[in-house]
């Protein structure tokens, strides 16, 4: 068995019991007979795998939990605001055509009403002026005077 192959197998997990039993036995026999591979196995186990496996677990400082809680609360607040904003936007976007149609209808109605009112007003003014003019023109009418003779005594002073 070539040393290079044995070293590859050692790196691939023979030290972790990942190999088939017959392969493990063959490698063990080679290592016993080969000082170079024996040294390689020893360094792999003592200098690499053992320090890695025995390293102490770390614990995060207390402030990390506080930061996590604050971040979750901050995101929740933003989410609530976003939802509110979305609803507002949705309200306006969805109802825009309805608003436009309602505004157009209102304006049309207002225009029609204003036009009719003005027409009525104009007619009232013109009727009044016509009546007034008729009255003033009638002041010079001679047919009117004979009735004066029928006035009661002293009534002319009231004219």
């Amino acid at each position: 068995m070539r040393c290079r192959y044995v070293k590859k197998l050692l790196l691939s997990g023979v030290a972790e019991g990942e190999m088939a039993p017959d392969k493990t036995r063959a490698i063990a026999a080679h290592i016993e007979a080969c000082p170079e591979c024996g040294e390689y196995k020893k360094v792999l186990e003592d200098a690499v795998l053992t320090p890695l496996a025995s390293i102490e677990k770390r614990t995060p400082p207390d402030r990390v939990w506080e930061k996590i809680k604050s971040e979750i609360e901050r995101q929740d607040t933003f989410t609530a605001l976003d939802l509110f904003g979305d609803r507002i936007r949705e309200f306006f976007i969805l109802r825009k055509p309805v608003f436009a149609a309602a505004t157009a209808a209102t304006l049309l109605f207002a225009a029609l009403f204003a036009g009719l009112y003005r027409d009525v007003q104009d007619r009232q003014v013109s009727d009044f002026l016509y009546e007034e003019m008729e009255f003033f023109f009638s002041l010079g009418d001679r047919d009117w005077y004979p009735e004066r003779e029928a006035m009661m005594p002293g009534e002319e002073f009231l004219m």
Partner: protein, 192 residues
């Protein structure tokens, strides 16, 4: 090994903050440790831990109990840690310093530094070893050799297949051995 009661998970998934705090207490050590080993410094580890638990809070409702919660959590942690690591690496022009270790950016020169650190405390030694490795290989070593996950669990946590995990672990360990002056090639065995 990380174990969170299913009842706690279900309560936390329903938005129960007390249950979520219990979940945090039970699992934050695992998350923070992995994040610290991947990123190499406490500041980034805190950032990753915070990001992971906010994601867990938001996504726990979608967690299917078909897989183990621990594997799912490791997956979220490894992905977040590697993303933060890469982001910081881009920002700093691929010069990220590990605490008490050597720079990841230059693995060729880190071998001798590793040998110098052999006599130091185990924490510095481990961080220096991890600093030699590219992030994907580093994550595999952390999950397998530090956290003690099975190969299948590492594959699930990394979102890859078993052969890729074996290959990454093989290459990672070969690099670490090379840093100790131990090469695979029988004709190139240097003297320490």
């Amino acid at each position: 090994m990380l174990a969170v009661p299913e009842e706690t998970l279900k309560k936390a998934a329903a938005g129960d903050m007390e249950a979520f705090e219990e979940l945090y207490k039970l699992s934050s050590g695992y998350v923070y440790s992995v994040a610290y080993r991947v990123n190499g410094n406490p500041e980034d580890a805190e950032e990753v831990t915070q990001e992971v638990f906010v994601k867990v809070y938001r996504k726990l409702g979608t967690f299917s109990y078909r897989s183990k919660f621990s594997t799912w959590l490791y997956r979220v942690t490894v992905n977040t840690a590697i993303n933060v690591y890469r982001k910081k690496a881009r920002e700093k022009g691929r010069k990220i310093s590990f605490d008490d270790g050597v720079e990841v950016a230059d693995p060729k020169t880190s071998g001798s530094a590793l040998r110098d650190l052999e006599k130091k405390d185990s924490e510095s030694l481990v961080m220096s070893m991890l600093a030699i490795l590219p992030e994907e290989q580093r994550a595999c070593v952390i999950l397998r050799d530090i956290e003690g996950l099975k190969y299948e669990e590492v594959a699930e946590a990394m979102g890859t297949n078993l052969n890729t995990v074996r290959s990454r672990l093989n290459r990672a360990r070969a690099k670490l051995m090379a840093a100790y002056g131990k090469k695979e090639d029988e004709n190139e065995v240097p003297v320490r």
